[in-house]
Amino acid sequence: MLPNKAKCLALLGGVLAALSAATASAQMLINGAGATFPFPIYSKWFNEYAKVDPSVQFNYQSIGSGGGQKQILSETVDFGASDGPMSDDNLARAPRTLWHFPTVAGADVITYNLPGNPKLKIDGPTIAGIFLGTITKWNDPAISGRNPGVNLPDMDIVVIHRSDGSGTTYIFTDYLSKVSPAWKEKVGKGTSVSWPSGIGGKGNEGVSGQIKQVPGSVGYIELAYAKQNQLAYADVKNSAGNYITPSIESVTEALATADIPDDFRFSMVNPPGAQAYPISGATWLLVYAEQKDHAKGEKLVQFLKWAYSDGEKLAPGLNYAPLPDALIKRALERVQSIKY
């Protein structure tokens, strides 16, 4: 009985809250939809921004990058969000100029389950070999040669990858396509790909769950997730030849040294920076250059300015890499030129 009563009360409370929210809304509502990867930081931003400007409320549905691109193209939302830059085909379908705004970046780490979980060093072609299924044993010279002093067992490597379409997979396959011609030719890059080997786990939790369970397994997960769950992960060799531990600083360094074109549709994997972690990627907001609704456009621009100044400072606390100052400056200039 009691739980029922409690439920009723909760429901009533919810209805009342909804009603009062509705009556209080001379408040403007700005809708967005898209990527799931940046959802924690975006909801933090919208919460914080509500204190800065109480007259506007942001509503963000993390339905996935595909949905975000679709909805902004059909203009059912005021802004979209995507973990990968839009393809030329999709962008050409936009009714007006649609701009990409990079917000934060994240990284993929290579995590594994080995006896004692030693710290490993690994390079791009080796990762590609493992995921292509050509390197099948942990004591393969490609791995042991880079890890003198680590006792690598004669154990089968079990590859675990994401089964659900995700920005994490996009970053990972983007990286492998860049460092391994064989990968580029056989598999390519995308939010889902046709995996040559291994088994699929759903979400970061699915992959890390499998890795914990299967001895000898290896997989890739988001840096933020690996940090929160204290998983072992490898240092990866970057294009300058250094082995880099994935961290917020080494990802921001990657952003700072990546070649970023004028339309902000960039890939930041394997950048030239000496201290840059190579397997990382940004996430974007998608905003029309000309806003149809003057009032909404104005609020959106104000929010973006806030996000690039105060918002970026919140990123490290949630394990996202903030943009480097030079890139923030470029993005802010673009924000200024949004017409409303």
């Binding site: 595909g66 949905g67 990968g84 089964s163 390519g188 890059k189 889902s192 790909v193 088994i199």
Partner: protein, 319 residues
């Protein structure tokens, strides 16, 4: 059905309105189901037009699923859906029917209610919980014990060869079996309860043992209904998504080994729909939905045909 003639219990004779209104309301409710299925089918068809025109029937027997090259085929998913569901039935139906027999025929009266409740509680456990339990509890056990044992004793069969990862077609079958067990059991129980006592008494009167009574009088009388219970379980199994996705390994391949990972229609839709950015990709996912609907309908039709084969008569009804 036809209107009953027991008008005497109605307070005010004369008005036929309530009768007619009820008939229409009930008819409408029944029609809604048909309309709903047609609408779902239509929506899926409309969504998959692009993929239908691009791949044609080849979609059904292509084994390739490559979102990068935009080549899509449904065969490994159809295979995975059918095999995992059949495995689940093979495990759940004997268990469910045996449990139902125990509950209706053998268990002491005061044990029946608690056991029944416990089984029905199983049905209330969310799918994702079964999935997590599968990953962290069931799969390690299957991998280290049951699968190893199967490989040792039955390893000469192609079904039990190859490397053992844990996540596999067989693990998915076991998880689905647990999930459809409540529905199979409770329907079987209702069926067995509806077997007239006269049947049992007649068999006893002929000097049958308890086992013979169950076999001749109860089970053979109820087999049609029990088959129906299995079919309802199968319907559940075909569409089960979340828990399956977590334990099947999500690998679109057709392998003879039950230890190998597989993939189902429902799982690939759940996995890839949110991040599908190109039209053809989305359309192919829609077509997988259409295929799933078709597979479900075909399996049910096949079951109906088999049902007629079993009983040879069409007069008695499935509960």
């Amino acid at each position: 059905m036809s209107t009953p003639s027991s008008t005497s219990i109605l307070p005010a004779p004369g008005s036929r309105f309530p009768n007619i209104a009820f008939k229409w309301a009930a008819g409408l409710a029944a029609a809604m189901i048909i309309v709903l299925i047609i609408l779902v089918g239509w929506e899926l068809y409309a969504g998959s037009r692009l993929s239908l025109s691009k791949f044609g029937a080849g979609f059904l027997w292509s084994s390739e699923w490559d979102p990068v090259a935009e080549k899509y085929g449904a065969l490994p998913f159809i295979f995975g859906t059918l095999v995992s569901s059949l495995l689940a039935l093979l495990i759940a139906v004997p268990l469910g029917v045996a449990t139902a027999l125990f509950l209706t025929e053998l268990a002491p009266m005061r044990m029946r209610q608690p056991i029944t409740m416990a089984i029905e509680m199983l049905a209330a456990v969310p799918s994702v919980i079964f999935g997590l339990w599968g990953i962290f509890v069931l799969i390690p056990w299957l991998r280290d014990h049951l699968f190893v044992w199967l490989k040792h004793t039955l390893g000469f069969l192609p079904l039990f060869q190859g490397p053992i990862y844990g996540v596999s077609m067989l693990a998915a079958g076991v998880i689905i079996a647990i999930m459809i067990l409540p529905i199979v059991t409770s329907i079987s129980r209702e069926i067995l309860r509806s077997v007239p006592n006269l049947q049992r008494e007649a068999a006893y009167a002929l000097g049958a043992t308890r086992w013979e009574v169950l076999r001749i009088a109860v089970l053979s009388y109820a087999r049609r209904g029990l088959f129906g219970a299995a079919i309802l379980g199968l319907g559940r199994a075909l569409g089960e998504t979340m828990a399956v996705t977590m334990v099947i390994g999500n690998r679109p391949q057709i392998s003879a080994s039950l230890f190998a990972p597989g993939y189902t229609l429902a799982s690939v839709i759940a996995n890839e729909f949110t991040e599908a950015t190109t039209d053809l990709y989305l359309s192919s996912l829609f077509e997988l939905g259409l295929v799933l609907l078709a597979v479900t309908i075909l399996v049910n039709i096949a079951a109906q045909i088999m049902l007629k084969g079993i009983t040879g008569s069409v007069s008695s009804k499935v509960a």
